[in-house]
Subunit: 419 residues, 2 copies
């Protein structure tokens, strides 16, 4: 395979000695025959310089921020970038938000060839607009694409185009505390034929939605249903990738949990009932250890866990506190940070022994979502929460995290879109 | 829940004593609040009497049958039926085949809210058009809809509309032996908001594609790659439903298998390496038992196996032969039909002992697909095939099956579309 690539590159007279980062990117889009693995062609990557902009002639007035419902309102423009197996990535377009023309045979409609990302842009009182760790989303989006045989791309190039889109619609970003612009890049297979295989056409599009805080009046802890009759993910499956296929199957279990009086599913895996994720968020548990330390635990990235950007941020802040690199106010001195399996039995025992400190979900939409109760095997496990709904570990971490997101605490996680 | 439904029906003054089959169908579409389970409204089912037909003003000429590639060609018309949570199923439309207008926020594009069916219509030399067991597809489609919180419907009503669509485009059905019209009903969530939940809008559409025989020149046995590093399904997952989410994740494993020289994945489950399915087909294995009988085995419907129409047809024909109800020529007298788990170890041992008779996949597209080799844990297990590519059990079953499909053998499985 490697020698085939080299041979083809030689045919194209690309001098090997001159390979730099740019040429390396081009090789990422080498197209191989899905049946034989044979090299077919090397096609162009996403090129911001080819961007075509068509302004919306009838821009809308952004609605009052207090009326926003998550994901219901979209801005005046969207970004689209077509791809096909012969020509590679085509000219990016920023154009008025509106319907896509979709062939009824488009493979996304039949075989769920779709992946997406979710990130947030913030606007401060000076008008400065920032994105929170978008490099993580670009990397994960490419990992997702590889997993379902959709085309990969240069993440920096897409990010540049997303910034341009946000700049055009930046007046849509609510300025109220806790508000932001939710950015939704999506990549779909659009092959016009209903065979199952790598699509020969795809479409990447990005839409923007102004959103309010997930909890409009303080934190409201949620009750979880410890779910064993349905699974979100399995070893050898797609749980570690942000693919559409991980979401539709969760709606029915969510309805079942709601009918029993719980807000979300706590997905438990295997006969040991390992905690995996909660609804569409990563899961954290805090214990007091036998020797009196505070342990922050989250399940390891074992192939079933989505590598969440908020998960990584929480772990990083906690570890920087524990190591002394960046101490957080009001957080336990003796903090142990663990990525390790944790079972419901361990949670139950800790609750009974008074060693369960708190539990919370972490994700882009809600940032931190405290948990106060888990329905498990017919009984409820109760979890402590503070008067404000949060716990002693999530509170200081949340404070630092939203400070970095809103830009009130400067950090390298904040990417400037426009000053 | 049941009492809530009764209470709501009483409020609507539906006399309980007059409930008949029709009213029962209406209750299937009772809408409940996804969070509370509370009854919201009862909405109309699919109504064939509301069909609106717009003829294609520029009909195409069907291409020569020998040029057909599976799923690449579509007929002049399609059927669409909109649904929303307030109005229920709207007026069905048969109209020219063409692009759908899809909002970029449509949930199918983000969360894979899609399910589909595949069935075939045949046209004999007298012009009579039949469908093969479409009642099974309608039933399964409703089961799929329930699993991902898409709306259910009266299967008989949809089938009546599908027949009408086929009648309009019946000149597209190739008459050559082994040719047919592939019918693809699809149901997608089209809610215009990117929250994860039961969609408040959906679209059911049906497209038709003329197809040739899967094997243009006799049977060509395929080589399978015994796949343990990826899974198609898991307990508590969606393997038993015909959902889009079961397909996109299989493309990468299929590419990996192809790169190793195998045609399809043989999905093995658990540490025992249970056989589950092959590619997108159900799996059958034939053994000679210790006491000299012939045993036809397929994995049981344990929640991971798609309840295939061809699978059911093969089992039914084999059982009717075994019971003496309908003996098939050239099929072993002493036939044992088993739905039971089977491991790769059992297959390997039977192959070594000369007791492995044959293996084949079964599905709508290829009908019967013989297997001659399985790559498993670094070595190849070889499977006997006859000179024609088939084996002693699949051959007589295939003969009966295609006879019933083409209508040369009359049966209650053949549904008349038009005489």
């Amino acid at each position: 395979m490697a020698s085939t690539v080299l041979h083809a590159l030689r045919r194209q007279r690309l001098p090997l000695a001159r390979w730099g980062p740019r040429r390396f990117i081009a090789t990422k889009n080498v197209i191989t025959d899905p049946m034989t693995g044979e090299l077919m062609a090397s096609t162009p990557d996403i090129q911001p310089s080819r961007l075509e902009i068509t302004r919306n002639a009838n821009p809308a007035t952004p609605p009052p921020s207090q009326t926003l419902v998550f994901g219901h309102t979209f801005t005046d423009h969207m970004l689209t970038i077509p791809w096909d197996a012969v020509s590679g990535w085509g000219a990016p377009q920023i154009k008025p938000y509106g319907p896509l023309q979709m062939e009824p045979s488009a493979t996304v409609l039949h075989y769920a060839q779709t992946l997406f990302e979710g990130m947030k842009a913030y606007r401060d009182e000076t008008g400065k607009v920032t994105l929170f760790r978008p490099d993580m989303n670009m990397k994960r989006m490419n990992n997702s694409a590889r997993r379902i045989a959709l085309p990969t791309f240069n993440g920096d190039a897409l990010l540049e185009l997303i910034k341009q889109l946000i700049r055009i619609d930046k007046h849509w970003i609510p300025q109220e505390p806790g508000h932001s612009l939710y950015v939704r890049p999506t990549l779909i297979g659009t092959q016009k034929a209903i065979g199952v295989g790598p699509p020969n056409e795809a479409l990447l599009f990005v839409i923007l939605s102004p959103v309010g805080p997930y909890y409009s009046s303080g934190f409201k802890p949620v009750a979880l249903y410890g779910t064993t009759e349905f699974v979100r993910a399995a070893p050898g499956g797609t749980g570690a990738y942000k693919l559409g296929v991980n979401y539709a199957p969760g709606v029915l279990p969510q309805k079942s949990a709601a009918a029993l009086g719980y807000s979300q599913n706590l997905w438990l895996h295997g006969p040991e009932h390992y905690l995996t994720e909660v609804g569409t968020m990563n899961m954290f548990v805090v214990f007091t250890t036998e020797d009196g330390a505070t342990e922050l635990v989250t399940p390891p990235l074992d192939g079933m866990i989505l590598p969440g950007v908020t998960r990584d941020s929480v772990l990083t802040l906690a570890r920087e506190h524990a190591s002394g690199k960046n101490r957080l106010a009001n957080l336990a001195d003796q903090l142990v940070v663990s990525e390790r399996p944790v079972t419901m039995e361990e949670v139950k025992e800790a609750a009974a022994a008074g060693r369960l400190v708190e539990m919370f979900g972490a994700g882009t939409a809600a940032v931190i979502s405290p948990v106060d109760r888990i329905g498990y095997m017919g009984e409820d496990v109760h979890i402590p929460t503070g008067a404000d709904g949060m716990g002693p570990v999530s509170r200081p971490i949340w404070t630092e995290l939203v400070g970095r997101q809103w830009g009130t605490i400067p950090s390298e996680w904040s990417f400037t879109v426009t000053e």
